[in-house]
Symmetry: C2
Subunit: 356 residues, 2 copies
């Protein structure tokens, strides 16, 4: 797995510039790269703290010197609460709530350890994953306001972005809808006397637009550091702005129209959210844009070779841009940085597999 | 991730018994567990050597003391050949060929290092992945017979098994077709003077049947150690014979029919080859058999809660049997052994991520 360092740096600077021009702060999500060195690059380019998906990722980043981390997830159960107590004594950390049961657990742990946990209220802005319905936010906030040891300091939302026919206008509408809902809920909570200082919304696709909505205090893009063919298909980047590629070798050429590479689902992940050109596939082959990775076995990728030329031969090394870069990175232990065409640095993905 | 040690041991003994009653040897595939301790259990139960998918797995198992390893894959390119040279000097190792180009590379590396690489001829018995067509096997063997430094010692095949309507009869037919094709090709090669000592076929679904076909010398089941809901669906096991479960916590209960767990595609993998009951899903929840994991985000699993009862609540710990256990194991760094209901041992998945 290689990363073009010049592309990586340009991607980091571009997002920093877009968000920096607005009233909101940039709190990048590190679930994409899980690599402390990249988080430091983001911080040097104007990020205000980090976002993580899991406690395990927060612990890795705290060990790497980061002291302001938002865990964009609900933390439930005795093991996680014990770890949250430990982490809270080292750094500034916030998490999310969307249930009375979850909030009560946080409250009890905080009281038992004489701590105050700051939390953001997770609202569902259309993804139908976690989050209370916006119209129930006031009632929910009232219910948990009496709990000792936790302090509601903000509103959290992630609506994703995956329309069938993407356009900049559609993306902006999507981004504004999420951000405006969060701002409206925050205003309602404020009228009830809750001191809501954070309105945290959006990801890579929507952050530049959401950040312009008045009231939004921070956005959390993650994938932009590497980009991927899924995002290129959404018009978010050009394939040349995809920093990460998988180097794979053709190990078999059993028929005229079939080539087999040594990268399967244990290297590329099975995410199939993308259409490369017109045909769906499991990634984009730089050297053979018309070829399609039509099947992924655990350790084999089967390429359907189409019209243009004889296709790759046994021994050829191909560069594949993954469909979805986040789970792909999570399969590897390290990546190699490329500068001016040569390997210049090996990086350990310290947050890999930290899903607990 | 927990493994019921009693179920694991019973699975290992059952397959050893089934294959031991035939004329073929058992060379289990370790790609499922990637854990040396389990490979040692398999060896103690009558396995003759190990099968691996990748050089990296072979290196891990050689470090763990195994000295007879078959790499069921084509090894192509200078880096892999350099590593194969090193491994060949430590242990007995064989790999596959299915192209003149690949065989020539092996030959050149062998000559350069004064080694003899033993290889099996990979034939395509219907999977359309790697492998030469059976009718081209004689011509291919003749073409590579003149190459110095490599010795063709066997025939290799893997046809998989995934019919729409499984039955023991259908499975036996599938297994026999693969095995008989391999035996026929081997006989043709023998008539041409090639000393074919190995006929290596089949996986978990087909091994017990294939092993009874006269001429077959070894079978390579892998998944049987853990089993999974995909295999239960194929009638290969009962859910109670699935040794590995993912422990996950309900972190959100945002609506009456939706519960969210803290296991997503970075824990369970995206393989969707299974139908749990009638509806497809991303795994089987032991405590709520009628509930369906209908979506996997990177770190969230969204459960559709159906009729029977209120469904799981925030804080509940659920046991999920994965759809496909092999890529699921490959996402984790370790697993915990359970004996008589309590944790008894922590095991490191040393072969995890060794896809090179």
């Amino acid at each position: 797995m290689t990363v073009d360092m010049a592309v990586l740096e340009a991607n980091i600077r571009r997002m920093a510039g877009l968000v920096g021009a607005t009233g909101a702060r940039l709190r990048p999500h590190i679930k994409t790269h899980k690599t402390p060195e990249i988080a430091h690059m983001q911080l040097r380019n104007g990020s205000a703290g980090l976002t993580v998906a899991k406690l395990g990722e927060a612990e890795v980043m705290a060990d790497a010197g980061f002291d302001d981390i938002f865990i964009a997830n609900e933390l439930v159960g005795p093991t996680k609460l014990r770890r949250l107590v430990g982490l809270s004594r080292r750094i500034s950390v916030r998490s999310c709530v969307d249930s009375i049961a979850g909030a009560s657990m946080l409250s009890e742990a905080a009281v038992a350890h004489e701590l105050m946990f700051e939390v953001l209220l997770d609202i569902n802005t259309g993804l139908d994953r976690t989050g209370v319905a916006p119209k129930e936010a006031r009632g929910f906030a009232r219910s948990i306001s009496a709990l000792p040891g936790i302090r509601l300091v903000g509103v959290f939302s992630y609506a994703g972005y995956r329309p069938a026919t993407p356009s900049p206008e559609e993306r902006e509408r999507w981004a504004r809808r999420e951000a405006e809902t969060a701002v409206r809920v925050a205003d309602e909570l404020r009228r009830d006397g809750v001191h809501v200082s954070e309105i945290s919304v959006a990801g890579t696709a929507t952050a530049p637009f959401a950040a312009t909505v008045p009231g939004v205090t921070e956005v959390r893009p993650g994938t932009y550091v590497f980009n991927d063919i899924g995002y290129a298909r959404l018009g978010l980047c050009d394939p040349s702005q995809c920093a990460l590629t998988i180097k794979t070798t053709v190990v078999s050429r059993p028929s005229r129209d079939r080539a087999v590479i040594d990268a399967g689902s244990k290297v590329l992940a099975l995410d199939k959210r993308v259409v490369c050109g017109r045909e769906p596939g499991y990634g984009f082959i730089k050297q053979w844009p018309a070829a399609r990775i039509e099947a992924l076995w655990e350790e084999h990728g089967v390429i359907r070779v189409t019209a243009d030329g004889p296709g790759p031969g046994v021994g050829d090394v191909l560069d594949v841009i993954p469909n979805h870069v986040c789970p792909t990175v999570n399969l590897a232990d390290r990546w190699y940085g490329i500068k001016a065409g040569v390997v210049d640095g090996e990086f350990t993905i310290l947050g890999r597999g930290k899903s607990r």
